[in-house]
Amino acid sequence: MTGDSKEKQNAEQVEKTRQPILKTLRVENLNDLVRKGLDLGYRVFAPVKDDRLVTFEQISSPEEAFLDGITSRTSPKSVLFPRTERIFSYKIRKDEIVVEDNADISQPTMIFGCRPCDAASFPIMDRLFQWDYQDRFWIERRKGMVIIAVSCLDCDDACFCTSVGLAPDSTEGSDILLTLVSRDQYLAEVMTEKGEDFAEKTGLFDEAGADLDKETATKAVREKLGKKFDLDKIKPWLDENYEHEFWAEVTRMCIGCGICTYVCPTCHCFDLVDEAHYDGGAKIKNWDACQFAAFTVHASGHNPRPDQISRHRQRIMHKYKYYPDNLGAVLCTGCGRCVRHCPMEVNLIRILKGISDMEKAGVGEE
């Protein structure tokens, strides 16, 4: 609820999905796709590998992109929601403060080569940034952004997209989804007008024949992924079991390092700070996370979430109960990053499987 002095702005759909248009792209033309993007003036972000570390970086030639990994270490959310961003600056004069809203966020941007789980994170987060107040930093960047994702043909033990209603070839969030269907050909599912527009401008796509079948291409990885827990069982259990000994048991080893939230494509919590220099300063938006003790501590020193067990419960509750309650989507795409990179192997899959098993067995109900 907001004051009636504040006119509620109509949430504009960032995302317009419709029947996909099927096209093909020859593998040898993949690099040209990136080059075309660059020529058309897009800032192109792609996974870039440096030793063992893969992150989303701005690239200036297709050769820099690394498409062979499973998921990158950090997620592409940083393209729309940088870990540190100046949201306005100001000059302090004697009797005056001049505020300058100087953020330049309008350049067209292309995300190239992200995985379907990452593409799916964008529409999930749209819900929050368009919820009630409109966050232009997210929304305007989103409008100028085209997402070209690539289906997975392999996965690891941490991946669990199929357990949260997605798949290694799901099209959610992609403007164009490429699936390698033969040695020299990608099937391109053009999902949005933005995607169609882009595909047309590049002139690199051909009409698809009827014989192209992505199901066969991704069958092996689907089978390898299987289902790791029953999503339908999670929320009913969370609804009833805010207090449960299970929480302490599965999260006592969590050290609150926050890696899980910082690598996560759907975590979006932030802090606002002022950074000053002698005659001015700026308001900066920095990533922050519910895993940190300082996140909730009151000025009096009272902390409503006083230990890591309650903080970790918040993470799971927020992703699998509160966000669905409020915004109708699970705040998790099953990308597995938090599982893969947790230094203490807290392992979200284990926790969710534990919950779904308990709920199945009827434990924890009244």
Partner: protein
Amino acid sequence: MTEEHAAAVQPTVAHSGGNGLENIYLPQLMVIQEITQETPDVKSMKLVFKDEEMQKNFSFRTGQFGEFTVFGVGESTFNICSSQTWKDHIECCFRKVGRVTSALWEMNEGEIIGFRGPYGNWYPVEKMEGQNILFIAGGIALPPVRCMIWHALDMRDKFKDITILYGARTVADLVFKRELEEWQKRDDVTIVTTVDPGGETPDWKGKIGFVPTVLKEVSPSSDNTIALVCGPPIMIKFTLPVLLEQGFAREDILTSLENRMKCGLGKCGRCNVGKVYICKDGPIFTAAAVALLPEEY
């Protein structure tokens, strides 16, 4: 700030980026018009928008809050402790506890701060009209109650009996002392002030005792009465059972939660408690609604 001073300073309107949506994190500039030191560590401030048009067009509802920027230092959440019935300025009242409040403490009349708001929900005034109101506040938590007290007093005939119970640790910690005296003098308000045992001065004429104990003593009727309770978590914890004992329904007890906030806009995640965002869905909740929340406030 004097009128000449106001005229001397060019109004600077914060402008948005020009490509569509406005920047919701951008503060408006406000001038500190008057500062009152309430206690050794509490000050209240009268604020006016630097841009006169903005001051004219600004409206809010009693009980809402704002994000106040000390430029170069940071942003803090305060209740707008003036009533929506006052049009020419807003007020805030803060305790010096940390970085931003300490910097604000050092500021002078005429200086400029930033303001974003109004945010959050407000007191259900329509529901309260025609009823008795019992205000209960502890310590620095008078501001979020004080705005509603003034609102009720400004529209006195719309409400029935008004009772105020206000307690602080010591006499020195009572805020808005002038107003307490002013209310004391009125015959259309019952006001009880109390200080914790040991916090009294030789000439203290109010009660001595903790708020819940004094509440029991005063034993206000719960018939057609809405109670507004604001104070430190511990006070609320012990006051609530007393009110329930007096026959108040949880739906008729209101409180303002003070979780840590940053954006005030339902984005930054900090104030999320259960499925509620205190900044968007609150800060004002009935005791019935609070009972449904996980105990994270």
